[in-house]
Amino acid sequence: MENLPEKTRGKNGTKANYWLGGIALGFFGLGAFFLANGGGHPVTQQNIPLVDPKFIATTPWRETYADMVKANEDLSDYDCYGCHEKNNPPPIRYDANQKIIIPKEHSDIVMAHGAHDRNNLCYNCHNEQNLLTLQVRDGREIKFDNIPQLCGSCHGPTLRDWEAGAHGRTSGYWDRSLGGIQRLSCANCHNPHAPRIPTREPAPGPHPLRGPAPAPANPETAR
C-alpha cells in the first residue's frame, strides 16, 4: 500500500476487500449468464423463396417448323392444301383503312410486321404458287425449315450477324473441336407475323443480406 493516502489506509483495506468480493461474485454471475445464453442466435434469416425453374430453363420461346419436324410432332397446321386449292392462291382482303383482314380460319395470326403496316401483304413472304414454301422478292423459293434466308433478304445486317454467331443464341461448345453447337433460328424468338419480341415477366430481383428488398426506383425520379 505504497502510494495510498495515509488517511484512507485504514478504511481502504475493507473497502477494497468488499470490491474484490463483489467482483468475484460478479464474474461468477457473468459466467452463468454466458452459459445460459449459449451460442445465441444473433441473426434471423429472412425467407427467400427459391426461384421458379422456368427462369432457368433454356427452352426457346417458340418452336420452328424445323424443330417440329425433328421432334416428330403433328404437322397438320402446315398442310395448307388440306384446305386450300392448288393453283388457286387465296385472296387477301383489306378493310376501309387498308388494314388486312385476317380470315377466321387463321385468327391466331396477328399482323404486325413492320411499322405503319409496311409488310401487310402475305405474299411478300408466302409463295402464292406453292403455299408449302416461302418466297424471296427475287423469286427464290425458301423451304419452311430454312427461314433465315427469307428474313435476311430484307434484314441483311442481322443475317450477317446471325451467320457469324453475333445475333441470336448459340449454345453448346465454344470450342468447336470438342463438340457441336445448337443455333437458334429466327422463328425461335421472333413470330414472323409479329416479330417484335413481346415483353415478359422478369425473374425476381436481388434480396439484400438483411432487411426487406428495397423498392424499385420511382421512374419519375429516375434522375
Binding site: 500500500m1 505504497e2 502510494n3 495510498l4 493516502p5 495515509e6 488517511k7 484512507t8 481502504n12 473497502k15 477494497a16 468488499y18 470490491w19 474484490l20 467482483i23 460478479g26 464474474f27 457473468l30 454466458f34 445464453n37 451460442g39 445465441g40 444473433p42 441473426v43 439484400p208 443480406l209 438483411r210 425520379t221
Partner: protein, 563 residues
C-alpha cells in the same frame, strides 16, 4: 549472463505481481474492463460460429466499425510517438518521462489495431497464409502486406524502447544512448509511415473515388496528431490524479516542522554515504574535507518535512539511511515524484540551479539525512564519476507538469487547425466542379436519394472539431478544465470523422450506384467495446507497472521488500 536473465525475470515477475495490487478504485476499474472484455470475447465467439453475418456489414458496405476503429487507433499509435520529437530533437525536459507514457499508449493502441483487424477477418485461422516464406505474402504489391509489416515492426520497436528504458530505470542505471536513441529516431519515422501506409490502403483503390484522393494521407496525419496527443493529455491527468496521495490543503499528517537540531557532518558520515554511493570514493580527500564545511546530518522521524515546495534555499540532500518521499503539488493534489533510499539524493536541482523547490520532501520512516550546501555539493562533483551520477539521477523524477501539458496542447492546436483546413479543401474539391464522382460526398454531407443516415454524424463531428479548434486557439484553453473539454471534443469528433466520415461513405454508393445503409449490430458493437476495454486494460497495467518504476519506488534496490 544467467544472472542477468534471472534478474530480468525477477523484474518481470515483480511487474506482473504489481498489476494485481491496488486500491478499490483500481479493482473496480479493472473488474469493469475485464467484464466488458468478456462480453466482447463472447460476442466474437458467436461471430466465429455464425460468420460475419452477425455484424451489420454487407457486400455493399464490406468494412464497418472494426476497420473504422482500426483506422482511428493507428492514428493514435502514430501520434503517441510523435511526442517524442520535442523531447529528443528539441531537448524539452518537461516531457521526458511523458514520452514513456506516449509509447506505452502506442503499444496498447497497436495491439488494439491488430485485434480489430483479426476480428474483421472471415477466416482468422488462416492467418499463417500471411507469413512470408510459409504463406504467400503479397509484398510489395498489396498495401495490406505493407501494413502488416509496419504495424508489427512498430509494436516491436515500442515494446523494446519502453522495456529497455523502464528496465534501466528499475536498475537505477542510466540508459545507454546507443541502445535506445537510434531506435527512438527510427520510431519517429516509422510512426509517420504506419499512418501513411494505412492511408494508402484507401487511397490506392481507384474504384472508390471518395478515397482515391491525395488529401487522404495528410488528413489522416493531421487528425491523428490531434486525437493522439489529446488522448495523452487526458491520460496524463488521470495518472496524475490516481497517483496523488491526498488533495493539497488536506494536511498530510506531518509530525512537525521543527526537527531535532542538526549536527555537523563528519568524514564518517561521508563514509556511510559512500557505502551506498560508491562513486563518492573517487572524490579526493581535499574535496571531501572542503565539502564538510556547512554540511549537517539530520535525524528525522516519519512525517518530518525536510524541504517545502516553493521555498528557495540552496541545500541538497543525500539519504544515509531510511527513506524519503518527495511529493509535488500538481493540479490541486500531491503526487509522489520520487522516493529516495540510502545513497540517493533529492533537492539537488534547486540547489544547483538556484530555483525554488519544485516539491516537498518528507521522511517516510525514521531516517538519517545528510544536508549539503550547494557549494559543498559542487566540491563533491569535482570528481568526474560523482558528477555523472548526480547529473543522471537529477532526471529521475516523475513530473507531469502543467507546462508539459501545455506543450501537448500546442501540438493538438496546430494539428486541429490543419485538419479543419484540409476538410475545407476536400469539401470544395467535391462540390465545386459538379462532376459526378461526388455521390459519396453527397451521401455523407447532404444525403443521397432519400438516404440521410450519416448526415447527422458528420455534421456533429464537424461541429465538435470546429468548437474544439476555437477553444484551442483561445487562451481560455490554457486552463486545464477547458483544455480537457477541447480534448474530449477533439477525440470524439475525430473518431466520428475517421470512422463514419471516411470508411463508410467510401462504400456508399456502391461502384454500381446502389445505396445500402450500414448500421453496426449489437454483436459487432460488443466486440468493439471488448477490444477497447482490452486496450484500456493493457494500458492501465502498463501504467501500473511504469509509474512506480519511474518514481523510483519499484527498483532493484528494494527487491525482496513487500510491495
Amino acid at each position: 549472463m544467467i544472472q542477468a536473465t534471472r534478474n530480468y525475470f525477477l523484474f518481470l515477475r515483480r511487474c506482473g505481481r504489481i498489476a494485481f495490487v491496488g486500491d478499490w478504485r483500481y479493482y473496480a476499474w479493472m473488474g469493469l474492463l475485464t467484464a466488458i472484455c468478456l462480453f466482447g470475447l463472447n460476442a466474437y465467439c458467436k461471430q466465429l460460429v455464425h460468420g460475419l453475418i452477425v455484424t451489420g456489414m454487407t457486400d455493399e458496405v464490406s468494412w464497418g466499425v472494426y476497420i473504422a476503429n482500426f483506422t482511428f487507433l493507428v492514428g493514435v499509435a502514430a501520434a503517441a510517438v510523435m511526442m517524442v520529437i520535442p523531447v529528443y530533437i528539441y531537448g524539452n525536459e518537461d516531457l521526458h518521462d511523458l514520452v514513456i507514457f506516449g509509447e506505452l499508449l502506442a503499444v496498447a493502441a497497436i495491439i488494439m489495431c491488430l485485434a480489430f483487424v483479426t476480428v474483421d477477418l472471415g477466416r482468422p485461422d488462416r492467418f499463417w497464409h500471411l507469413i512470408p516464406g510459409i504463406g504467400q505474402f503479397n509484398f510489395p504489391a498489396s498495401m495490406l502486406s505493407w501494413d502488416v509489416i509496419v504495424l508489427n515492426g512498430y509494436l516491436l520497436l515500442n515494446v523494446y524502447i519502453c522495456g529497455y528504458l523502464l528496465y534501466r530505470r528499475y536498475q537505477k542505471k542510466k540508459p545507454s544512448k546507443w541502445f535506445y536513441y537510434p531506435f527512438v529516431f527510427i520510431a519517429i519515422v516509422w510512426a509517420v509511415s504506419i499512418h501513411t501506409v494505412t492511408a494508402f490502403l484507401y487511397v490506392g483503390l481507384g474504384g472508390r473515388p471518395f478515397w482515391n484522393s491525395a488529401i487522404v494521407g495528410p488528413r489522416f496525419l493531421a487528425s491523428a496528431f490531434t486525437a493522439g496527443p489529446a488522448l495523452i493529455i487526458l491520460a496524463l491527468q488521470v495518472v496524475r490524479r490516481v497517483t496523488a496521495s491526498a488533495p493539497a490543503g488536506v494536511a498530510v499528517r506531518l509530525r512537525s516542522d521543527v526537527i531535532a537540531a542538526p549536527r555537523q557532518a563528519t568524514l564518517k558520515d561521508l563514509d556511510l554515504l559512500a557505502h551506498h554511493l560508491p562513486e563518492l570514493d573517487t572524490v579526493s580527500m581535499e574535496d571531501r574535507l572542503a565539502s564538510l564545511h556547512g554540511a549537517t546530518v539530520l535525524d528525522v522521524a516519519a512525517g518530518d518535512v525536510l524541504l517545502r515546495q516553493g521555498t528557495t534555499e540552496d541545500s541538497a540532500f543525500f539519504v544515509l539511511s531510511g527513506r524519503v518521499v518527495v511529493k509535488r503539488e500538481e493540479g490541486g493534489r500531491f503526487r509522489i515524484t520520487r522516493s529516495a533510499g540510502p545513497g540517493e539524493q533529492f533537492g539537488e536541482v534547486s540547489a544547483l540551479a538556484g530555483t525554488p523547490r519544485v516539491a516537498t520532501a518528507t521522511a517516510e520512516k525514521r531516517s538519517l539525512v545528510l544536508r549539503l550546501p550547494a557549494a559543498s555539493l559542487r566540491r563533491l562533483m569535482q570528481s568526474h564519476k560523482m558528477n555523472e551520477i548526480v547529473q543522471s539521477r537529477m532526471s529521475e523524477r516523475l513530473m507531469i507538469t502543467d507546462h508539459g501539458l501545455l506543450m501537448l496542447r500546442s501540438i493538438v492546436q496546430v494539428s486541429m487547425l490543419i485538419n479543419v483546413f484540409l476538410l475545407l479543401n476536400e469539401v470544395f474539391k467535391e462540390f465545386y466542379s459538379g462532376n459526378l464522382h461526388v455521390a459519396s460526398a453527397k451521401y455523407l454531407f447532404i444525403g443521397l436519394h432519400g438516404h440521410y443516415a450519416l448526415v447527422p454524424w458528420i455534421w456533429t463531428a464537424i461541429g465538435l472539431n470546429v468548437i474544439a479548434m476555437i477553444l484551442l486557439v483561445l487562451p481560455l484553453s490554457r486552463s486545464l478544465k477547458w483544455l480537457n473539454v477541447a480534448c474530449v471534443l477533439c477525440i470524439i469528433g475525430i473518431w466520428i470523422e475517421k470512422g463514419m466520415g471516411l470508411v463508410i461513405p467510401g462504400f456508399i454508393p456502391t461502384p454500381l450506384g446502389a445505396i445500402v445503409d450500414y448500421r453496426p449490430s449489437l454483436n459487432e458493437t460488443l466486440v468493439c467495446l471488448g477490444i477497447w476495454a482490452f486496450g484500456l486494460l493493457l494500458y492501465t497495467i502498463f501504467l501500473r507497472m511504469a509509474v512506480p518504476i519511474l518514481q523510483g519506488r519499484l527498483s532493484k534496490a528494494n527487491e525482496g521488500q513487500e510491495l
